[in-house]
Subunit: 165 residues, 2 copies
């Protein structure tokens, strides 16, 4: 099973695909960030996000997607802007029939680093360790996207354990 | 010139198309609202918005679109949800190469009713009068969308006058 994790944004959209092998090992398939020039109009930015996501899915064929939920108290303007991009991301996944799950930042930290108040660096270090990478993927958005994918994998595992009980 | 006005929302998206004739008369071409069942998943809602907007544009072939900007202080949750839908609306218009303008609620009220603090009913009554409709279009979102289109028409007229001076 291939999981596509996405960290939404307006100018940088992190994405990462992981696969769980039959021996239960989790390996990274591909990961990067869609980086959009700040000079692009807002409409152009949304189109770049949509088109790039289409390409990523058609090349790496994930079965499932996990997208970080928005969480902000400080900056409503950023929240609105990211929500526009997030709408386009959810539409792209829906159009390509990729079943999509959403996770809160707290759930992601909890799943990857073991506790919800872990800081960004700790989560990224865990992503590097779990996926046996030589270094933390850059930019941060890429590492964050892999964390979202790992969160979904871990949440699926948890659901299976709960079902067994 | 045909102008498509849009009043964004998550469950109801108002739309209205007006045309300015050579004799400068403004007539309504078509107007309605995309009404989405509340039982649809969020991804399904976004897809319904995208698909319906595509149909509206391909049938009525507007040259330009005007979309209401978000304005809220009370309900951040609604704002985030509408922003997702609005991202999809802007993407659809970009994909169909429709040049798109955005107007604040205040600008729309100012342009249609003559002052920015006009209430909803006054704006809707003006929409009815300007377009010589027998009644105010329902739901409110449809009338609001026509107001957005009229605002763009009026703002274009204003720009032309300013250029002449």
């Amino acid at each position: 099973m291939r999981i596509l994790g996405i960290d939404p944004g307006t100018n940088i959209i992190g994405w990462g695909i992981i696969e769980k092998l039959e021996n239960k090992k989790i390996i990274p398939i591909a990961y990067s960030s869609i980086i959009i020039g700040k000079k692009n109009s807002f409409g152009e930015k949304l189109e770049i996000i949509f088109d790039n996501l289409n390409k990523i899915v058609s090349v790496y064929k994930p079965n499932i997607a996990a997208v970080e939920e928005l969480f902000f108290v400080n900056n409503i303007k950023t929240g609105i802007s990211v929500s526009h991009a997030r709408g386009v991301i959810l539409l792209a996944l829906k159009k390509m029939n990729i079943e999509t799950f959403e996770y809160k930042p707290l759930e992601i930290k909890q799943a990857v680093a073991g506790y919800g108040r872990a800081d960004k660096k700790q989560v990224q270090a865990m992503v590097k360790n779990i996926l046996k990478l030589s270094e933390v993927p850059k930019p941060d958005d890429t590492a964050d996207a892999l964390a979202v994918a790992l969160c979904h994998e871990s949440s699926m595992k948890l659901k299976k354990i709960l079902l067994k009980k």
